[in-house]
Amino acid sequence: MFSLVAFIPRAVQQGVPLLLGSTGETITEKSGNLNLGIPGVMYVGAISGVIGSFFYEQSVPSGQLNGFLAIFIPLICALIGSFLMGLLYCFLTVSLRANQNVTGLAMTTFGIGFGNFFGGSLIKLAGADVPSISLSATSAYFSKSLPFASKTGWFGKVFLSYGFLAYVAIIIALICAYVLKKTRVGLHLRAVGEDPAAADAAGIDVKKYKYVSTCLGCMIAGLGGLYYVMDYACGVWSNDAFGDRGWLAIALVIFTIWKPDIGILSSILFGGLYILYLYLPSGTHTEYKELYKMIPYIVTLVVLVITSMRNKKEDQPPKSLGTNYFREER
């Protein structure tokens, strides 16, 4: 039977990678950069973490993993990998002023290829008989739930049963929301995304803001990839398993009308929609689950169209989204 207590944790686990991805993309888009490379970035984040932890697990006799290093190494690897992707995107679009759509799509091609290539190579290296690679020891550290989770009944299950990255995701989203709304940095970032020429005239270093927010955004999104493989997938990497979650994260940005705090609940909603088909009454034709998976995209499209119909200035995409800025342009 349908049990909300069982459903919510699963929705949350689905939602966390989306939340990280969309938070990262939101702060990127707030700077006017439409980074369609986020799906690729999340792949790179995931595989970088996998590579790091794979070699760490290999180098230490089994069972003697240092808990701190087991978390720290993949975390750092994922952050570096996705940071480099962000840097590449910024170099091409901000410094070299390349078209953002084209650059982003090329990054997605590259990132997914990168993930699958190294994933495939590691699988070969590990010599497993299944086409996947399992890092269950590392994963155990990542998915360790909070204390009392099992002792506090439904409360623990719904609120305390997640790995630390899930809480990190929520904290990051809250911080981003706070920074965007309440701080000077946020004000400047929003100004850059709305009207870089005006921001520039006000003395804001447009390039710096674009670089920092995009690279930071990529790193946050990269964590989403890491969470997926280490926590959600229990440390099992198999090629293409991450699927279209990166695009779903971009959809979530629109759905939340560029507000990371709305993203927290929305990502759980999206996560829930994503797995809703599992809860269809038995006997339902399996094909309907595919239609259920369509819901997040349709909802997002509807939100996009409605916000443009209402034309409320505050709810629009950042005005300069997708365009590059060059001061001496005239």
Partner: protein, 507 residues
Amino acid sequence: MENREVAILLRGITKSFGDVTANSNVNLDVYKGEILSLLGENGSGKTTLMNMLAGIYYPDAGQIIINGKEAVIRSPRDAFDLGIGMVHQHFKLIDVFNATENIILGLEGKLNIKEAEKRIKEICDKYGFEINTKKKIYDMSVSEKQTVEIVKVLYRGADILILDEPTAVLTPQETEKLFNVMRNMKHDGKSIVIITHKLNEVQSISDRVAVLRHGEFINDMKTSKTNAQEMTDMMVGHSVSLNIERPEPVDPKPRITVENLTVVDEEGLVKLDDVSFTANTGEILGIAGISGCGQKELLRAIAGLEIVKEGKITYIHQDGRTEELLGKSPREISELGVKLSFVPEDRLGMGLVGNMNLADNMMLRSYRNGKSRFFTEKKQPRELARKVVDKLQVATPSIDTPVRLLSGGNVQKVLVGREISSRPKVLLTAYAVRGLDISSSYQIYDLINQQKKRGAAVLFVGEDLDVLVELCDRILVLCGGKVTGIVDGRNTDKYTLGSMMTQKGEA
């Protein structure tokens, strides 16, 4: 010269954009505690020069010395650090932010809106501004936006203020208010540079005046020791007696009647208010007014490009048949057989496509013609392009050159050439000689006069009153969207026009 401290020294400043030289070897001094007028015609490089001080552009060569120290201004932030603040003609404000957020944008330190609002209020009280700090920019009128811009500069404690044509959008009362503020700031020891091409403003506000012409520095002098004639001479290079030809209209008959035209823009501002007039054949009807008083909307409405709230625009054919133009698209108007040409103000953004070559730009008006329904006819536009280049002496490498690579005057010749090639019955022109050199301007006047002699009804929106007075048969004066009068061009002078332009029925 008095022995006063120098705030800004510019030496040998040169800046070019592609092949166009905007400033060449300019030297300029600004002293502390003075108001300097930077005078020059449109396109003389005033704004570009000041943008280099504001950090928007970077000079190709030359030295900038601020308060005795050589300075490198790479960005607006550098400019702020040097105490330079500029209020641009096109406001650099973020639409979705409110006044406070815009004013404190770019500053450092902890964000404290309350504190900022307090300081803004102090500044406003000190100089007599009025600002609603919570109001979003997209809800503001032009003069409110300008106030925000000026307060923004003051908030940063700028010692050197640059105002780029600040009065263009203001009512006379607002202008007077602004001038008072400027005088207050001067007494505080601040240096102010005001970019303008209006001589009366130079005389009423500034201590000194510096003149630029074609990107070059011509001279500077004390305002009290010069006069309008001398300044004009320096601006235009030689003494102007324009001597524009004005043939007598031949058999003028009504061609277009506009009745009770009212236009309200998207933001609900009334742009045209109950405008009525008649434009006759064989006659040039001048339209005068401070910029932003509805000239643009008037021409756009006649051309079928404006959403009109109410009124009538009637076209009268040669044989007396009439045609209502209102509510019709430009295409429907031309399909009615109404030959209407329009030389818009924004040449490369509207009249022409910068990235297309001359021949393809000729096609803009005529591409729907030709035998085939589906294919374009390329031969005629090419011939037309060649003809225009020949007849109007357009300086271009070939007719396959993208028009964005041509100089301003040549761009305008291409545009006007195309618009008159269809032998229009009605010719609308907006600021047809803006930014053009003298000889190109005369060529344009000639072309317009030719159309008049052909019997076209010409509407000439202009900003130079001398030109309006010498070129036009009748002049309609707009002020704040209302018609304040229609005068005979032969029996008026620019002072009459000037006073009509500034009398306002209501605030």
